[in-house]
């Protein structure tokens, strides 16, 4: 029942490498999501009054 798409994740990961720097695509995605959420939280207008 769990992990319908897990077969996609159970493969050797892809890494981006620049000299001594490297990061897995998965970690990069997580960090990008965090940055996007942070930016969105500041840029998107908060509803004026909630009941």
């Amino acid at each position: 029942m769990t992990g319908w798409l897990a077969s996609f994740l159970n493969h050797p990961a892809t890494y981006l490498k620049y000299g001594w720097f490297q990061i897995s695509i998965s970690n990069l995605i997580v960090i990008l999501i965090m940055l996007v959420l942070f930016a969105a939280a500041i840029l998107i207008k908060f509803p004026k009054e909630r009941e």
């Binding site: 029942m1 939280a41 500041i42 998107i44």
Partner: protein, 210 residues
């Protein structure tokens, strides 16, 4: 209030509590008008993720650390634990970024920041022990690699990352307790001091009592 009551420990505790954190301060239904940004939801989101972590963790604890290797429900519960931890850290770090850029330690709120930062550090330790008790290749590898760091500063003499029993107990008992208590104190401090006012807030909005 009579003098004798003033001397009683119980009365003193109650009075201090009432003074510092009356219930309408603990559960307010309004906030200063400047509390109007999505950044404010990430503290609550972090606690929500912690709730899912604890709930899925309790189920895992009932079945033992090896259950999820062979059971479908176990695998699902383990996955809930895994993803809620990823969300927990993501939300906590966004919350931390937000509070940093608000300089949220202003106005006698330094200890609120400090308890929050300690929570972050303790969370890393808690997650780390979780990775060690997965009873899979990952935990074999992490325990072999990580032992050198702890041994190098003498901590390894007591904190033995290769000892599954020790890591299991720390992960499900000691560390969550510490994490829970500090988080609780952190939230009480936030409620007691109120949400930090904006940088450059207007003077007439604040009532300064000397």
């Amino acid at each position: 209030m009579s003098t004798s009551e003033n001397k009683m420990w119980t009365a003193r505790l109650r009075n201090a509590w009432q003074r510092n954190l009356p219930v309408d301060k603990l559960l307010p239904d309004d906030q200063p008008a400047y509390v109007a940004s999505w950044i404010y939801v990430f503290g609550v989101a972090t606690i929500a993720a912690l709730g899912v972590i604890i709930a899925s963790g309790i189920v895992l604890a009932f079945q033992g650390p090896a259950w999820y290797h062979t059971s479908d429900i176990g695998k699902f519960t383990n996955s809930m634990h895994f993803w809620s931890v990823q969300m927990f850290f993501a939300f906590m770090v966004i919350h931390l970024w937000g509070k940093f850029w608000m300089a949220a330690w202003r106005g006698n709120r330094v200890r609120t920041w400090m308890t929050g930062a300690v929570t972050f550090v303790v969370s890393i330790a808690t997650a780390f022990t979780g990775y060690l008790i997965q009873t899979n290749f990952d935990s074999q590898w992490i325990s072999f690699e990580a032992k050198d760091g702890f041994n190098s500063v003498g901590v390894g003499a007591w904190f033995t990352v290769t000892n599954l029993g020790q890591m299991l107990l720390l992960h499900v008992a000691f560390l969550p307790l510490i994490l829970g208590v500090i988080t609780f104190i952190h939230v009480l401090m936030v409620r007691r001091r109120g949400v930090v006012p904006p940088i450059d807030a207007l003077p007439f909005d604040m009532e300064v009592r000397k």
